[in-house]
């Protein structure tokens, strides 16, 4: 069996105490929320923090407050199951609820938190392997090695953004609160992520993601459509989040983000632009979705071949738009 490396486990009760421990230990320390991402990674020695700071005991990080009319605040430690089972949330933000319900398995959703899902490590067939396996290929750029085996001549890492909640939350224009010993900052998710498999967020060392802020729900509709091999368990190989608002029969606003296919959940802006201000029908949606082919840079580093996944992007964009429209009517 695979075993965890030795580490010191901290259980602070206050956010400030947690921040202090991480500040004291620097890069040796990592926060752990549900542990469903970090602990398997530690067993595979992808991350080996000597200090692990649990957020489970910090009550301030748990729970949902506010209401959809003015926006919701979701504590970072709120479990995915709790979100999935919240009927009011599902009614107001169906796309987000769909995304949460599609994450991994029921057991892992019991443990996993929304904060953890937002900061889910990027994934790759050459990275998510045991240490012995990775040693056999001389490791890779993302961890201990020099080369990106997905694209050996590439100067960057192509590990894949694999969180289901991120594409729809980016489309929704959700925000997060990041806290450090120097204070708090509130940034849109669009500014939290960047297109690199290693440095995939702009979160600074020592910063803690404390809350997710959902926008006020005034006439918006949403959907999330996930492509994966099995009905459960698997990470997305494509995940499309759609957020739209109608003006009569016309689409007034539309935002689409595609995850699971690059290091960031790219916006399908051209597809959205082609539909804004129009009365959508099956043909126009299909035509607009074709433009979603462009922003998807699929590589052969997840389940299924890159060519097929790229081909699927416009189809899933169409279907996700249709699902959101069907909700609206």
């Amino acid at each position: 069996m695979l075993r965890l490396p030795p580490f010191t486990y901290h259980q602070p009760r206050e956010i400030d105490a947690a921040l202090r421990i991480v500040a004291d230990h620097g890069p040796e320390a990592m926060f752990v929320a549900g542990g469903t991402d970090l602990y398997p990674n530690m067993k595979r020695r992808q991350q080996v923090p000597s200090q692990v700071v649990s957020l489970g005991g910090i009550t301030e990080l748990h729970g949902i407050s506010g209401d959809p009319a003015s926006g919701l605040r979701i504590g970072a430690m709120t479990s995915l199951t709790e979100l999935e089972e919240n009927a009011a949330l599902a009614a107001a933000y169906p796309g987000f609820a769909e995304a949460v319900a599609s994450i991994s398995t029921p057991l892992l959703r019991n443990m996993g938190s929304i904060g953890g899902n937002l900061l889910l490590d990027t994934r790759c067939n050459y990275y998510d392997q045991t240490e012995e396996w990775r040693e056999g290929i001389n490791y890779c750029m993302k961890c201990e090695g020099e080369i990106c085996w997905v694209a050996p001549s590439s100067p960057r890492c192509w590990a894949v953004q694999s969180s289901d909640s991120v594409p729809i939350l980016m489309a929704m224009g959700a925000e997060v609160i990041l806290r450090s010993p120097d204070g708090e900052r509130r940034i849109p998710l669009l500014d939290l992520y960047q297109d690199d498999g290693i440095q995939f967020t702009t979160k600074k060392p020592g910063e803690l993601l404390t809350a997710l802020l959902l926008p006020a729900q005034d006439g918006w509709q949403s959907s999330y459509l996930k492509l994966r091999r099995r009905g459960s368990f698997d990470f997305p190989v494509l995940g499309v989040g759609v957020y739209l608002r109608m003006d009569g029969a016309k689409i007034a606003e539309l935002r689409i983000h595609i995850g699971g296919i690059g290091s960031i959940a790219h916006a399908a802006s051209d597809s959205a632009a082609a539909l804004i201000g129009t009365v959508p029908d099956r043909e126009s949606i299909r035509a607009a979705a074709k433009a979603a082919f462009k922003p998807t840079r699929a590589m052969d580093n997840t389940d299924h071949g890159a060519a097929w996944r790229k081909k699927m992007a416009p189809i899933f964009v169409s279907r996700a738009i249709e699902a959101a429209l069907a909700r609206n009517s």
Binding site: R3, T130, W133, G136, H304
Partner: protein, 759 residues
């Protein structure tokens, strides 16, 4: 020896009912002791160093640094185990050569696959053992490797074994080859039959290696004392197999090894051989401490035995009114690094559901630089059925005949000459097809993008050796002791047969699985044989006890034993002794001390009269025309169980086999990189179906009792994995018009086939 006959029409009290399973509560509550649960005082941890190359000569192994580490108690290499001569094993499942087995357990001279064990250590903690592995220095001379059966047959292919010459070909080859053997089997004249045909279909099929996917990784605790006696706790499908294999591989006597069976967390054929056990005994001997070894999931995938990857070329023909006239198959099965794929069983079974004028199957066993395959549920048959059952579907379509009707027209039945030797005795092939045809599923309407497929399957029923003892406690309860690990409900079925024999409540029967020193030799749990064969031994042992109970009653009553009969749980005096009140099992047990001592019975036998099994599966799929994704939306399994002792277990076997077969058809595969490294050695990336991927699998048990078993039992556990692959593939054809001849049917492959057809 044959057990006394039974009245097949008799009404039973317990047979066919569904009592609570004897192992259920412990498993549900987490109390069951699996292989990794055992611990001993002073126990240390063993780990295996594995080859990072698919094919390499081991130039040297320097273990000195590892041995010098604090906490390291023993390091072993092949040099610590005796050299084993080439010798075919008589026990176990499938062909096993002891020298090959020894070399698979730990590499000698050459590492033959990525993950092949080259050394092992034992240390006070698993962390130290891991560090010690890293301190072992192995110098390899990397050799060219070959991963695919096609490439392995090329004239310039790297040769795995310099002393391997193809068996079964004339003249005897003078050059070594990766083709270990050729076998053939058939009846009539296949070519003449094909020449008579109006329609001949020729197709070539490919399947990938797939793993059984048992949840419990291989695990063992072993202790070898200074007196040279070993005790082994292990999870396996046969502790007598472990004893025999370890004795042979370590140069010990079988009497020096006691193997205690753990509860088993799934096997499906994959636990019919040894990997860790001989290493754990050798490490324990060197360390002077008990040693525990548990594989990681990655080790299970990389270094145990999956099912063969295969390539099958098939020609089948029929007349225009649908009579199968001829068939010819060439089957190439990858064995992995050592000879011994189940191609022989494939050759025997593939045409069994049909009465064909002339058929011939040639099988080739091919070694490649991948882990050695092992048995997997009906070993070899599902891939062969994929070929035959999809071609039969195509022939039926060509003739314009309903696929079940076509199968009925050509079905093998009692008296049909089988391709593998004997004429079929009483079999339920036709009854099973009729039941499938009559099932409402078969005529239910289909939705858009949906299609329906059917397929038949055949599998044997193992006989082999079994033993049982039956003991009577003085409160009149019964302990039934057997030597077969329970992977499919055998404790329940053995207890129920005993309850039926004695005419007592099944709750009064305690079924136990005993270690190698307690019960007589029993061949392993495999071949769908335990309820059949060990069941016969239990019935015989019960009848031995009943004979003694009648003797005790006769002696208590002072009458002749012939005047005592046993019925409904009591001895009853016959003819004229009407005044004698019946003596129950409990009455007699209480008086045992004064009437001759404890009462127990035993039986050991080689079971004859096996009951072969047929199954028909009906599958509905929906195929997404834009993505190629296949969803199984309805599934029905119909199977002749002979007689279902505990129908819930039989249904569980039928559903489990279907689930595994659907996974094999749609998603599962070993993915290797060019260097021979498995890329998906974990349950996240090796994609077995999960609950969300399967519909409720309906079951229909057909009962055509096996006339030679006291309760009519046939083999049940394996045949349900034979039809699913072709049932799914035929359904995909019905939905899309494409016939896919390579597994798995992943969405990109299905979409590519659909696109090719559309263009």
């Amino acid at each position: 020896m044959a057990t006394a006959e039974v009245d097949q029409q008799k009404k039973f009290k317990w047979i066919g009912t569904r009592p609570v399973r004897p192992d259920g509560l412990d498993k549900v509550r987490g109390r069951a002791n699996y292989g990794a649960d055992h611990a001993l005082p002073g126990m240390i941890w063993g780990k295996v160093l594995r080859s990072p190359h698919a094919h390499a000569r081991i130039v040297s192994i320097d273990t000195s640094k590892a041995e010098a580490m604090e906490g390291v108690h023993a390091v072993i290499t092949a040099a610590d185990l005796p050299e084993i001569l080439s010798e075919e094993s008589k026990i176990g499942e499938g062909p096993t050569n002891f020298r090959d087995l020894s070399h698979n357990v730990i590499a000698r001279e050459k590492a033959l696959y990525h993950g092949h064990a080259v050394a092992a250590v034992a240390a006070t903690t698993s962390a130290i053992a891991q560090q010690a592995l890293e301190a072992i220095q192995v110098e390899y001379e990397v050799l060219p490797h070959v991963l695919e059966g096609d490439d392995a047959q090329a004239p310039d292919a790297p040769i795995l074994h310099d002393d391997l010459f193809t068996k079964g070909v004339e003249p005897r080859p003078t050059r070594p080859s990766n083709v270990a053997s050729r076998t053939e089997m058939g009846r009539g004249d296949a070519e003449a039959g094909l020449a008579k045909a109006d329609h001949v279909i020729t197709r070539s099929f490919r399947t990938k290696a797939v793993h059984q996917g048992y949840i419990e990784p291989h695990a063992v605790v072993a202790t070898l004392g200074e007196d040279g006696r070993a005790t082994v706790w292990a999870s396996s499908q046969g502790h007598f197999m472990i004893r025999a294999y370890c004795a042979k591989l370590l140069g010990m006597d079988q009497s020096q090894i006691k193997v205690i069976p753990a509860e088993i967390g799934g096997g499906f054929g994959g636990k019919t051989t040894v990997y860790l056990e001989p290493l754990a005994i050798a490490l324990s001997g060197k360390a002077g401490r008990p040693v525990k070894m548990v594989m990681s999931r990655e080790e299970v995938f990389r270094a145990t035995g999956p099912a063969s990857a295969t390539r099958i070329e098939l020609r089948m023909g029929c007349t225009k009114d649908g009579k199968l006239t001829g068939a010819h198959a060439r089957l190439e099965y990858e064995a992995g690094a050592f000879p011994g794929s189940p191609v022989g069983a494939a050759v025997m079974t593939l045409f069994a559901p049909y009465d064909i004028d002339g058929c011939l199957a040639e099988g080739y066993d091919i070694v490649v630089n991948k882990c050695k395959v092992a048995a997997y549920r009906a070993p070899g048959a599902p891939m062969a059925a994929y070929a035959v059952e999809t071609v039969v579907d195509e022939l039926a379509e060509k003739c314009g005949i309903d696929p079940i009707e076509f199968r009925l027209q050509n079905a093998s039945r009692e008296g049909t000459q089988s391709a593998f030797g004997p004429k079929f005795k009483r079999i339920g092939n036709i009854e099973t097809l009729e039941a499938a045809k009559a099932h409402p599923h078969y005529s239910a309407p289909l939705g858009p993008n949906q299609g329906r497929g059917v397929a038949s399957g055949f599998w044997f029923n193992g006989g082999m050796q079994s033993s049982a003892t039956v003991q009577v406690a003085d409160d009149g309860t019964i302990c039934v002791v057997s030597g077969n690990p329970d992977i499919g409900g055998s404790r329940a079925s053995l207890a129920m047969m005993a309850a039926e024999e004695f005419g007592i409540d099944v709750k009064l029967v305690d079924p136990q699985i005993a270690d190698t020193s307690v019960v007589g030799f029993s061949d392993l749990t495999g071949g769908s044989r335990v309820t059949f064969a060990t069941g016969m031994a239990v019935v015989d042992a019960c009848r031995d006890v009943i004979r003694q109970l009648r003797e005790r009653a006769a002696s208590i009553w002072g009458i002749e034993v012939d005047a005592v009969k046993w019925s409904d749980g009591a001895a009853r005096a016959t003819n004229g002794d009407a005044g004698l009140e019946p003596l129950s099992l409990r009455d007699i047990a209480l008086k045992a001390a004064r009437t001759g001592g404890p009462i127990s019975g035993r039986a050991s036998l080689t079971a004859r009269g096996v009951g072969m099994a047929f199954a028909v599966h009906i599958c509905d799929v929906e195929v997404d025309p834009e993505t190629g994704k296949v969803d199984v939306v309805r599934y029905t399994t119909v199977q002749d169980a002979g007689r279902a002792i505990h129908p819930s277990y039989v249904e569980g076997q039928m559903q489990g086999g279907a689930a595994q077969g659907i996974g094999w058809a749609l998603n599962e595969e070993y993915i290797y990189d060019a260097d021979g490294k498995m890329e998906n050695p974990g349950f996240l990336d090796y994609r077995m179906p999960v609950a969300s991927d399967l519909p409720m699998i309906d079951t229909v048990i057909v009962e055509v009792p096996n006339p030679t078993h006291p309760y009519g039992v046939r083999g049940v556990g394996e045949v349900p994995i034979v039809p699913p692959i072709p049932a799914v593939v035929n359904a995909v054809h019905a939905a899309t018009g494409v016939r896919i001849t390579e597994l798995p049917l992943s969405p990109p492959r299905v979409l590519a086939a659909m696109d090719a057809r559309r263009n």
